[in-house]
């Protein structure tokens, strides 16, 4: 067992968990933040993506115990109070989701993507968005409207 302490969505949290506890389990079971989803067991689908210290990370392949002192943001912590993050709003505006299961991971990946491209001053083309989404699988939307959502949000972020 390991005692861990981290900041999740701006709040300090702690807990004693088995060493093998994954971040996704810690978030879902210990903190009951069930917006982080698990859609596969090979780190392929990206439904579990959260931000750790500002960068996108797959929570299903990260040990909670390795994140002592980290700042974690989950989909539940993305909105600023009652105001949706531009990426969340863009997914609604552009019909970028259907069943919603991959959506939290898609949004967290996309926010990170836009932040990186802006920081590096690179142009976020449709081709770049599609390549960047390589680690996130959606079975419903055919990606068409996810790409539009990311383009839309990128213009507003």
């Amino acid at each position: 067992m390991t005692n861990i302490k981290m900041t999740v969505n701006g709040k300090s949290v702690s807990g004693e968990v088995p060493d093998e506890t994954l971040l996704s389990e810690f978030l879902r079971e210990n903190l009951r933040l069930t917006g982080t989803h698990v859609g596969c067991d090979t780190s392929q689908c990206g439904a579990c993506v959260v931000h750790v210290n500002g960068k996108a990370l797959k929570a299903c392949t990260t040990l909670a115990a390795s994140l002592e002192g980290a700042e974690v943001t989950t989909i539940e912590g993305l909105a600023n109070g009652g105001e949706l993050h531009p990426m969340q709003q863009a997914f609604n505006d552009n019909h970028g989701l259907q069943c919603g299961f991959c959506t939290p991971g898609m949004i967290m990946t996309s926010v990170d993507m836009v932040n990186r491209y802006k920081a590096e001053g690179k142009e976020l083309t449709e081709e770049a968005i599609r390549d960047e989404l390589e680690g996130n699988i959606c079975r419903c939307t055919g990606y068409h409207n996810i790409v539009k959502s990311v383009e839309d949000a990128a213009a507003k972020m």
């Binding site: 067991d41 919603g100 996130n136 699988i137 990606y143």
Partner: protein, 781 residues
């Protein structure tokens, strides 16, 4: 009307999904939660000689280990297929016994033999590894060819030669005569590749027994919770219906895989009673590949004859279908009544004969996957048309035009009566959007870059809105296929719609609200949709077969008709006018030609306070309706796919994909287009990426996303979509036809026709991976 029929209203349900507040089955955790893990067979075919649970039971935190003998001993019934198919010799289909936990034999890798119940999911899984099963391995038939072979292992005792039925549709003699008189006959031998549906949310169940009430509650990932309750009660004897509540909360995609009642839900319910704990099971992805029903898996030989003018003279089909190790809920209907009746396509064909033989194999059951039978039929018909055009030196679009059905209703020789459509116009729409005239120039330009550019068509028809109950019943269905709805107008005038349809991504909370808003002139915010709970909704057949629009919405319309009639009576009484003069507009109930009116909510309040109602009127404003269609609906469309192939690597890129469709009336174009995007992408997945592979020992070789190629964002293009709305369905009040399956049905032949056009050979099987395409190019040299 702002948010009415035809408006691209943004989805009301999105906020909970974009903020992580969706509530899926695995998100539920009860106070007395325990966890199940299944002990699964590592062999595709084996006798179970003994199960030693002692090591597992000795582990701290293990509550119980239960097996199939205990399950059947408690009277839990076998899993059944709900559609009876009769062979052409009149004999019934050979349905083999399927216990939720295997008793004597296991028949596929993943077949469950026992379940461990423990205090945590991790512990349950570790303990499941400690259960020792003594298996006696048996010979395996892992595909159709092996199952049909002389001396093949017998998978079920009551299915000699592993055959389930030998079924036919159409007139064989007339079709043979049509082929004999043909000026040209095209023959195709094709395989429809086996797929795994892969909704992103894995299946999950949380079953809770309440011993004080002798009552069960099941949260489950279902497309049709009422059907689940019916079958769990009537056939599996888990509990009587009034003692079983089934809730399908937010469900993360279905695509058919979540229609069926699987061993895990049955076992969790029963185990909850045995242990007096709430039992939770959530599949991981590997388990999903092993145990979710697969789709497709056909081998077909077909001949189509043409006269000298290119008119079809006959179409003869011989199909072998793999049903897997057991018959899943609708498995028998998929390669029969959802397949052969689509063989007429968009064409006027007088003579069609289709023979289908289905076989057990030592693989996971095969059942409906998005499109279900119709993609298999469409792939055959549309590859046939393109191949025949090439063989006869005709333009493939022109060959199609010469054979299009032009008048409606149109009776085919294979059961269907097409209701409406305009096939030439839809093809023209697609051709215009795809700039057919510019193709040769684009091809020449691609050639300069060393690329082979090709173009392929698919002009397809579907039978959707499953289905008229009477017709389904006469063809062997065990259930009716109507839908129900309840419209509750509250005393404050807001409205709740309770529907038996179930949304697992389709956006019903928005589209169903739109039809109500449209009818009564109310904002969509004043309408909420309730679905997915057997305690709330009276009954429902659920969502599959593109039926929520044509059938589910129609039931809502029927219930609204009754509400409107009562509203008019109340208003006429209150306003002292004739019912015939009452009109409902913009949230007001008015006396036509006067300034007398009541606000919508005032009528609601009047109905509930009941101080001043007509003498013979009951208080309240709530109506229910059941809608049973008189026919299927027949959405259709034309897809044009344009590809570029790198001849050195076989790498293929879809450069343009154009869809012109006829879905009848469109309620919300944004949502309809989303359905097409997703469906086409699944169709491209089948055509270029996806295939479940078992080895000859029945071991699944690609049971993860490391090995099974799901379409990803960079694998597919953006899509061009247009709609033809001038041929509404005459068979339901809204004129809708359904749009959920079109993409998956129509896309695979468009893609393969494009690639084969590019590489100049028709001999290419799905999935057209770079290796397959490269091999086809080399073979044709």
């Amino acid at each position: 009307m702002k948010d009415g029929i035809g408006a691209p209203v943004k989805r009301k349900e999105d906020k909970r999904f974009t903020t992580g507040k969706g509530k899926y089955t695995d998100d539920i955790r009860n106070d007395n939660q325990a966890y199940a893990a299944f002990v699964r067979s590592p062999y595709a075919h084996a006798r179970v000689k003994g199960i030693d649970t002692s090591a597992a039971l000795a582990m701290e935190g293990v509550i119980d280990v239960l097996n199939g003998q205990q399950l059947t001993g408690d009277g839990i019934g076998n899993i059944i297929c709900g559609w009876a198919i009769t062979s052409k010799d009149g004999s019934p289909m050979n349905m083999g016994a399927w216990s939720a936990l295997a008793t004597e034999k296991v028949r596929y890798v993943g077949d469950a033999v026992a379940v461990v119940i423990a205090e945590s999911q991790a512990l349950a899984r570790i303990a499941a590894e400690a259960v020792e099963v003594d298996y006696e391995e048996l010979p395996v038939a892992a595909n159709i060819t092996a199952a049909m072979a002389d001396g093949a292992p017998q998978i079920h005792d009551n299915a000699p030669g592993n055959q389930i039925y030998d079924w036919e549709l159409g007139d064989e003699a007339a079709t043979d005569a049509g082929l004999a008189e043909a000026a040209h006959v095209t023959t195709l031998n094709i395989t429809n590749n086996r797929l795994s549906p892969n909704p992103m949310e894995p299946r999950s169940a949380v079953a809770t027994y309440d011993d004080a009430e002798d009552h069960y509650t099941l949260y489950t990932t279902s497309q049709n919770p009422h059907v689940a309750r019916l079958v769990l009660s009537a056939f599996y004897n888990v509990a009587p219906e009034h003692k079983l509540r089934v809730i399908a909360p937010d469900v993360g995609g279905g695509f058919g895989a979540k229609i069926y009642i699987y061993p895990e839900e049955i076992t969790c319910l029963w185990a909850s009673m045995k242990t007096n704990r709430s039992i939770k099971w959530t599949s991981d992805r590997s388990e999903a590949f092993l145990t979710d029903a697969h789709g497709r898996d056909h081998i077909t030989t077909a001949k189509m004859g043409f006269d000298k003018d290119g008119k079809i003279t006959g179409f003869k089909i011989d199909t072998l279908a793999n049903i897997g190790a057991y018959m899943s809920l609708f498995s028998s209907s998929v390669p029969t009544y959802l397949y052969a009746p689509l063989m007429s396509g968009q064409y006027n064909i007088q003579n069609i004969h289709c023979n289908v033989r289905t076989y057990y194999t030592n693989t996971v059951p095969v059942d409906a996957y998005r499109g279900a039978g119709r993609p298999e039929a469409t792939y055959l018909v549309e590859r046939m048309m393109e191949t025949a055009a090439r063989e006869m030196g005709m333009d493939p679009a022109e060959l199609r035009r010469r054979n299009f059905v032009q008048e409606f209703p149109h009776q085919t020789p294979v059961l269907m009566q097409y209701d409406s459509g305009d096939f030439p116009k839809i093809l023209q729409m697609a051709q215009d959007a795809a700039d057919i005239a510019g193709f040769e120039a684009r091809k020449a330009e691609a050639a300069k870059r060393g690329k082979l550019r090709g173009l392929g068509y698919s002009t397809f028809i579907e039978a959707c809105g499953l289905a008229p109950s009477k017709a389904a019943g006469s063809l062997g269905a065990g259930v009716g296929l109507w839908e129900s709805a309840e419209v509750r107008v509250n005393p404050v005038g807001s409205i709740e719609i309770l529907t038996g349809s179930h949304s697992h991504g389709q956006g019903h909370e928005t589209t169903f609200a739109q039809i109500v808003a449209d009818r009564f002139g109310l904002p969509v915010e004043n309408v909420s949709i309730v679905h997915g709970d057997t305690d709330k909704v009276q009954f429902g057949m659920g969502t599959y077969g593109s039926r929520s629009g044509p059938v589910g919405m129609s039931a809502v319309v029927k219930a609204m008709d009754k509400v409107e009639a009562k509203v008019k009576k109340i208003a006429a009484h209150t306003l002292e006018a004739s019912e015939d003069d009452i009109v409902i507009e913009g949230g007001e109930v008015k006396v036509s030609g006067t300034d007398k009116s009541m606000a919508w909510h005032e009528v609601g309040l009047a109905a509930y306070v009941a101080h001043n109602l007509p003498d013979d009127m009951e208080p309240g404003l709530k109506e229910t309706a059941f809608f049973d269609p008189v026919n299927f609906s027949f959405p259709s469309g034309a897809f044009i796919c344009e590809v570029e192939v790198d001849p050195d690597t076989g790498q293929t890129e879809i450069v343009n994909f154009t869809s012109a469709d006829d879905f009848g009336t469109i309620i919300n174009p944004m949502i309809v287009e989303g359905q097409v995007h997703g469906g086409v992408t699944q169709g491209i997945g089948q055509a270029m990426l996806e295939q479940v592979v078992y080895d000859e020992d029945g071991q699944l070789l690609n049971g993860s996303y490391m090995d099974y190629a799901m379409p990803r964002a960079a694998d597919v293009p953006s899509y061009s979509i247009s709609h033809h709305e001038d041929s509404p369905s005459p068979n339901n009040p809204l004129g809708v036809k359904g749009c959920g399956e079109a993409g998956a049905i129509g896309a695979p032949p468009a893609v393969i026709n494009a690639i084969t056009d590019a590489i100049g050979t028709n001999d290419l099987a799905m999935p057209a991976t770079p290796q397959a395409v490269w091999n086809a190019i080399q073979a044709a040299k």
